[in-house]
Symmetry: C2
Subunit: 273 residues, 2 copies
């Protein structure tokens, strides 16, 4: 068991399991974006770091069909950071918060060897999309194209550059689609650890299994940090889901059917580099 | 201007200024407790680190007359940390949350060179105590005894040991006092950067000044991380405040009177080591 799973196991709280925690109509999520854990300094400008830290938290809100309202931000500044860079970071976060009508409520700063951002985001949803209501017989699908992030990460590790519009820098979130389709879904989550690992997670929480309807090659299934959506729905809603996908320009790929008969899970290795 | 003040200045949000942010009856606070910024590893056991990270956030809630309800926790684990230590940390945080009837809603983990904990705490208050309603003529007072934390920190820096009940490890929070006295106060905040710096902060926010009623020596005024309370009240409430202090076993020291005539502020240097 990796350290994160071990920690989650030990901290024992009924809330952990979804992208965010649901308390009545409020959704809470907290995600870090940290040099050495999630990125290397030479890969990204300070604006790209701020953007990604923001967007992975926003993704948790969208994945739960919530509207983000507030955020708190703790930033770890390396000792030698220039004020100019601090200013650019704060400007980017302020701009993103403003664009998404999110109020920044506060936070903290620390001195550190590494640059890092921890964000807590708080949103509202009258109809949250969770992971725990998967049903036997549901169809499993994912949005968009998967695989490019794994490819781009490999290039980054090889010291190559990747384009500014790479989904590693600019994930595509599916807000309009999720908002419209949630009433027809039984479960949903964002794909942060890769389709293989996240599908397993979804199945395990519900104590269910899957029959493959489409073979997913490893370059697609192992691509993490995609922030596309993994969704599940009753086959009777297939036409509605397809229609909403079409109306919101959201490609979807159906790849599995949920079964209750024990069967093999996807291979899922380590989830972070 | 230090980096934290610069950051706060640039991030520009009307919420920053109090120990927590007030949104209707909900109070939000986020504080980090980080190796290298707030402590050295050899100073503290993992339980003491967990306790202090928890208590500095709880202090923000109490300082605003709020009851903590929820928390999210992000932990930075050094690469070589033992599972046993991770377990002790999670047990201590779970225990503290349970004791204070706080639900842990989630969080994140990162790999890091340093050990660190970032907590977001969310509380409720129907009558929050803020910093911005100070009045000309108010009396300024602090709770408890100040100075021992500065002394203990100096010992720690000299490589000495300090007792387990040092207020550096176990700050004394004034929950009962603050809950009872809030209706009679005009402003309050916890003393984290030292009485000198925090008094200046309180006065500056309100564009007011102070006349010393009692000379505060620097070993008291410069002692940070005390987490005692700095309070202000109309002199007509003096007897009530004194009575509540007595009933809750809370020593208070009146040291100043708020004036609107420009006068010298306390000396306030760097606020973190």
């Amino acid at each position: 068991m990796d350290l994160e799973s071990y920690w989650i196991d030990k901290i024992k709280t009924p809330y952990i399991g979804d992208d965010g925690a649901i308390v009545e109509e409020t959704i809470y999520a907290m995600d870090a974006f940290w040099e050495g854990t999630h990125f290397k300094k030479e890969w990204m400008s300070i604006e790209q770091v701020a953007y990604k830290a923001f967007i992975v938290n926003l993704s948790d809100m969208i994945a739960m069909n919530a509207t983000a309202k507030y955020m708190l931000v703790t930033v770890a500044f390396p000792k030698n950071i220039k004020k100019k860079v601090v200013k650019r970071l704060s400007q980017e976060l302020s701009k993103l918060a403003k664009e998404h009508k999110i109020d920044i409520l506060g936070g903290d700063t620390i001195g550190s060897d590494k640059l890092g951002i921890v964000i807590t985001m708080i949103g509202e949803s009258k109809n949250p999309l969770s992971r725990d209501k998967l049903n036997n017989g549901d169809l499993l699908a994912y949005t968009g194209d998967l695989g490019s992030v794994k490819q781009d990460l490999e290039l980054l590790f090889d010291g190559e550059r990747i384009p500014d519009n790479s989904k590693f820098y600019r994930p595509i979130l599916r807000e309009d689609f999720i908002r419209a389709v949630t009433p027809w879904l039984s479960a949903g989550m964002d794909i942060s650890d890769g389709l293989y690992c996240d599908t397993n997670k979804l199945l395990k929480i519900n104590n269910l299994y899957m029959q493959e309807l489409k073979i997913i090659p490893s370059n697609i299934g192992e691509s993490g940090e995609e922030y596309e959506m993994l969704i599940a729905f009753n086959p009777k809603n297939l036409n509605r889901v397809k229609k909403i996908a079409q109306l919101t320009n959201t490609p979807i790929t159906i790849f599995g059917r949920v079964i209750n008969k024990e069967s093999e899970l996807y291979p899922c290795g380590s989830q972070h580099f």
